[in-house]
Symmetry: D2
Subunit: 339 residues, 4 copies
């Protein structure tokens, strides 16, 4: 490994030791395909975590998790309302078009009333009300929010309650892309239930947070759960040795490792934020920082060994992870403060 | 773990120790998402193995591997000729319909001239010639064979050459489902090149043979390879920590572990076959046995601790794996012989 | 027009004069796109005809009518049970795969208990029960029957009641392909309600029966009706001058022209059947005859000016239409009798 | 018919008498399904009209015509670049998502360098260059332009030549939505060849211009033509009495009726434009006018018997047709001038 201090993304971090242990232990698990003892524990464990009945299935990517859930609530001729910078719109290579058979992503902008890539009931209404019942226009079937948002913002339980009530009133499903759900929940106080308040489904991300290859699709609607079992198989995502995926997730749930890891990353992000006074594009509510930095400033940081992505012409994005060292975070904060 | 002697399937066997080691080592690999150093080695390694230029991408399941390859050679309005008992038809939960956007599987039976779920040029011609150029009928775009077949039979290089020539003459693609490709290659003499002679693409299975969660899509057509990169992402199969999948495959290729594992399983199958005189439905050419056994006989075997699937009303299927113990195989062969 | 006596198909017959009149009159109809006064009458007219609440939309082909209805009852990951010789399987160029996004047609044979391409509850159960709840297998979502069947057989109200009860018990939708629904209804006594007893949707064919380019999708489930409105648009089947299609259908309903036309065709078929003693493959219950005839016999008939299709190597299919002349029918019956 | 002077849309106008005549004559045409003598003439007639080899097939709607052509040049995992106000994006109920199996519409705005919903090579480059070869982003496969554009603007042969060269250089297909192609060609001087210069396919609209239910998909690429034949069937758009659609198109081509009708509509539009000094949002280059009018002004016009659509809060759209009377056009022009 090189000496770079890595703030590119949490999505390439190493796997947590306790996850490795759990996977190795699964070698000897009771293991028939599609009925192993580890996978069978997931429903109960997530029901426990969220305090409401749900089913949970592992899949190998967040893209699949999001799309499988959305497919249960949006027919091919319908649409999914999301933010114009939502990951499902801009970064999943057209996966929603594939899984939803050509359903349309209907895009809200911050200009519609949101902030930091967050949606609001009013913003959604402004988008969908003018086309209501117009047969020439794709009609919305579902709403997708991202927790934490694409700019590292979080939805409070109150905000989610409002979105959920709005969705129900309009007959729309409500899905949450939780690639960094753990970081959002950590910021919001640690309650998974609050951080997913009122949603019909959640793609609960573990891979960015210490896992290797397992995310959970959590379905609070039993009919959707029944469907996803078949849709996952059909999408080539039912792994015959799925017990190794279940093992990863169970390890993350055991002793709330998911929360501890996320808190670690969030703390590192706040440490960095301390050096970014006046430069932050968005409040830091999870483990991502969007920082105004000139080209020259970014060059200076890279020269000091910091790795990160540019964000447009005048900013950079820094992401912390479960294994970001306190030293690296502190060094970055100071480096930015000294620019 | 219970005391059962497991012949249910190779798809749930433990992961090989050398695969585990390689995965752990990948924790420290040079690791940017979608450009890691391990995944970058695959094209060259498979080109070397097959002795002809190819690209290779990991995916988590054979279902995805088959479907991604087929999608490059069959348009949504076309069809894929396969055996009526082909895994893609009977066991993948409709995945080809999903990945190929409703393309049709056009089914050949053994009655069309094949044997043990193998296809022949004449059998295919009998199926597709009568509907040629009929706009009311789906036209074939591709052929899919399984190596080893669903009944554990193999295609020789000569048989593949004939199928390949036929496919080319008709303008059809030729794909090989190689869930047990290693076992077929081992039986045929150990040459991967021969066992995949003339095909345009191959789903090279590692999971049943000691891997955990990585199969390879091998594409001998550069245009197809360019497409699959995008189609894999779109199907939610581009894993951000894909280096752990590349590591599994590389471990299997190193020192021809894939071949050694397959030979082990094949030897175990032959050991069992020795006890099955007069009972075998198909010659044993890989690691599966289809054995005529009455209900009472099967009950007797189960009472002795052997686990396996029924195959219809009058037979059973036994599958050996890389970790089948010589004792278990010998015991099973003797138990059947003593019935 | 040549002197051939046409028994090839009813699908290319001329348009009935009353249909022409109605279309011309629509030039002056109150005509805003997607809300014209003629199309607006359809729901009430069909509700009246069937004696139960329904919605009805025009489309240009039976293929589209069948597929739009089926799409409301079969999710992309599900299957539609139909006869192995069903038109949707063998003659629609893969349209169900397109409209149902890769859902699977699950094929029953006569060997499953049917007769003349008709389905029975027992036959369907034999097909679907063994795979129930198997995630590796596509699960059925709907059943499609053809009235009259592909061999000109009809389903009685009692038979439909049994199928409908079976479908409900299994949670399956029941669709009827009624390309020759009028002929079936005429044979069954003239009641549209009886001929579509218990079905959830019907593709009611008018084109083979004197129309030009309008079939009706009749939906007895209000939710399906709401969907089809959008699905039709999405499939490019919402015609801006749809009033001309509504006009065709209304003309066919006025004074029961649909029934009179069908009776005419059926009478002609029976006239021909009179000459076919010992040669009929199936009882004549609509306007199609499947007649055992050697190659030489068929040549002899063609030499006399009769046009028709071969049906395999040893038979021919004859179809009568609303405009088949009594002379032609009588001549054909006599010609066959004289062979 | 009420007394309203109709400027809502050309899409609901009556059918031209010569089209009616041709349809009636087709009752007696040589008429086997899928091989009738009228449909067989289309390829040659359009090849003649455009002065380059092409194939032409009828379909019932412009939506189907556009989507069938686009499906030949854009794979499901690709994208089609079009204007953000393109009809395929905003008014076809998601049809491209259906026909292209979830391919993405990639939206250019006028802000990208266009004007009046027209695309330019530079604008397209600005959209697609930044994401080139990024596997997380859908890559463009085709470009779709509208002639006349959604704001009634036309592309000159020179502008099309530039777009065509750009498309070829990038390996993209170039499709033209020609719902009002006749009006554009009339404006540009009457040459169909010029108005479709360099495109790979054209949806040539006849329905808004005096036809009833037939548009032509014109394919300048022979491989695409071979595909569309099958895709049309699969989409339920192969009508068994297709000769009536061919008859409509042939009637429109005979004696250049298409051009005469379009010129009539364009003249009427210019007549109205004469009264709109200072109010036009776009130059009038076809048969549509976008006119700045306050709510009160629009109310005043409606009170005088003019029917038209609002265009946002401060404008109205007026469309003329082949049968717009000179009196109505003159009256509207004067009424606006007098506001």
């Amino acid at each position: 490994m090189n000496q770079t201090m890595p703030f590119l993304s949490d999505n390439a971090a190493a796997v947590h030791p306790r996850v490795w242990e759990a996977m190795r232990a699964a070698d000897f698990a009771d293991n028939p395909y599609d009925g192993d003892a580890l996978s069978a524990q997931l429903d109960a464990r997530f029901t426990d975590l969220f305090g409401r009945e749900c089913a949970a299935l592992w899949v190998a990517t967040g893209t699949a998790a999001n799309c499988l859930a959305l497919a249960t609530m949006c027919q091919p001729h319908g649409g999914v309302v999301c933010h114009e910078e939502a990951h499902i719109e801009v970064d999943e290579g057209g996966a929603p078009g594939f899984y939803l058979h050509g359903a349309k992503l209907m895009l809200c902008a911050d200009a519609h009333g949101g902030e930091g890539a967050k949606l609001t009931p009013d913003g959604i209404a402004a988008l969908i009300d003018p086309i209501r019942d117009d047969v020439h226009q794709v009609q919305p079937h579902a709403i997708a929010v991202t927790q934490a948002s694409e700019y590292g913002r979080t939805y409070s339980a109150e905000e989610l309650a409002a979105l959920s009530a709005f969705a129900k009133a309009r007959g729309l499903g409500l899905h949450m892309d939780g690639a960094r759900f753990a970081n959002a929940a950590a910021f919001l106080g640690g309650s998974a239930a609050d951080a997913a308040f009122g949603v019909d489904s959640l793609a609960f991300g573990f891979i960015k947070n210490g896992g290797m290859s397992a995310e959970a699709v959590v379905l609070f609607d039993p009919e959707a759960a029944a469907q996803v079992k078949y849709r996952r198989k059909r999408a080539g995502h039912l792994q015959c040795k799925g017990r190794y995926l279940a093992a990863q997730i169970l390890a993350m749930l055991d002793g709330d490792l998911w929360l501890a890891n996320a808190r670690h990353a969030n703390v590192a992000a706040l440490e960095i934020a301390g050096g970014c006074t006046g430069r932050l594009m968005h409040p830091v509510e999870a483990n991502e920082l969007f920082v105004r930095l000139t080209l020259r400033e970014r060059e200076a940081l890279r020269a000091q060994g910091f790795a990160f992505y540019d964000w447009g012409a005048d900013a950079a994005r820094f992401v912390t992870a479960w294994n970001t060292s306190a030293e690296d975070a502190s060094a970055l904060g100071k480096a930015i403060a000294s620019l």
